[in-house]
Amino acid sequence: MSEALLSGTLFLTPFLTGLAYAVLLPVLGCYLRLRDEWLAALAFTQVAAAGALVAMAIAAPPVLGGLAAAALAALVKHHSMRVGNAIYALLYLGGWGVAVLLVANLPLAERLARALFDGQLYFSGQAHLMAAWIALPLALAWLARLSRTLLVARFLPGHLLATGRLEGRFHFGFDLLIAGALALATMSIGVAAAFTLIFVPAWIVCDSVNGWRRALALSALMGAAGYAAAFLLALVIDQPFGPVLALTLALSAGLMLLLRRSAAPLT
């Protein structure tokens, strides 16, 4: 990849688009770990991808299809009365099945499916960029409102039960937030990259550091740093972004696990 490309503005828009999700998704991932619902990340990205393909099949905007499908998945989860990973496994299988059948029967869907599953970040345009940077502050503000309730529900469940504040709307609000953020991210950076960003940094950091706030900050930092490194590497070696990001963060996670075996917990 030439220096002209690296230094030019051609890749600035996709880079900044992905950067917003590289900050947001790891923070959301910490809350998924809090709820033992990390499989939600796979389910919502897969369902969003299927929704985008369905939308394309009926000549509707794929982004709207992805968002609608993810919101529908959040609604199904909320009404399933099953807090946990079982419902997410079913949603994942449903999303995967629909996506594969559409690709098999609709030649036009193949290109979009490839972009979604390979993570063709470089095709992100101004609309993706705006959506990402509008979503970032909104999602963080929404999360800030839900955060205390989510933490109390996990660590002091008796406090909420006893005061009658364990209300489904907080949990549904969180499900919708996760669904919306992952649907938008999937449309811009692809299924595997979105899952990588929401799963790996939170997993490494939550298992290592002291303090919830520190974990949120370090997750965002690790997501952004890993993303930037993978973006640059993918450009330099001229490979698809999604797998490069997944391998970069997965290898980093493996390395940190090895280092932790002989070191004290991070502080």
Partner: protein, 196 residues
């Protein structure tokens, strides 16, 4: 009939359970400045009784009267699992709006450690402290002395005495000496006798 004051809970001929009745009928009152103990053999329905007070068990008969908006804090027998989560002891107390001041000296250094790095006794004490010292009108504790050594039990007694001046407290324990030393009144669940 007069409305109960904040912290007061009137339990009248309560029969509670899940699919079927497990405990009752029982009657007792919780009131600020009083500590009620619930004792009885395993399976007598003590935990079910507290669960009924916080709305997670089914009420088959009788009534529970408490003023609307009253804040009841409840801590079950076992602190929730925290493995792999980075919350520290200090952050737990912040969540409960409970003060660090007054914690026993042996627990203070552990406040800035992750909950999953604390011993079972430390976590048990910290969770019950968080509940006890939260700004609630009534506090319900289920087996707070589990995993606790004599030093921990002594500190817990001090904390309950300190808190009970302004808050209604009900607690379950198999430690009869502990109950006798901190409670004004003990209800034996199972044989429905009231003593103290």
């Amino acid at each position: 009939m007069s409305q109960p004051q904040p912290g007061e809970v009137e339990v009248i001929d309560l029969v509670a359970g899940y699919e079927r009745p497990v405990v009752g009928p029982l009657s007792f009152n919780l009131a600020p400045g009083r500590v009620l103990g619930l004792s009885g053999p395993n399976g007598a329905g003590k935990s079910t009784l507290l669960a009924a007070l916080v709305g997670t068990a089914r009420v088959f008969g009788g009534r529970i009267r408490r003023p609307p908006g009253s804040r009841i804090a409840f801590q079950g027998q076992h602190p929730p699992p925290v493995h792999g989560l980075p919350l520290t002891g200090r952050e737990l107390l912040e969540l409960a709006a409970a003060p660090c001041a007054g914690l026993p000296e042996w627990l203070t250094p552990a406040l800035d450690r992750r909950l999953d790095a604390l011993s079972g006794g430390q976590r048990q004490f910290l969770h019950h402290w968080a509940t006890l010292m939260s700004p609630a009108d009534a506090v319900l504790l289920d087996e707070p002395t589990n995993n606790m050594d004599p030093a921990g039990m002594a500190e817990l007694k001090k904390a309950i005495s300190r808190r009970s001046s302004t808050t209604a407290i009900a607690l379950i324990s198999h430690e009869s000496d502990f109950l006798e030393s901190v409670c004004d009144r003990i209800v034996r669940v199972g044989d429905k006798q009231v003593s103290g």
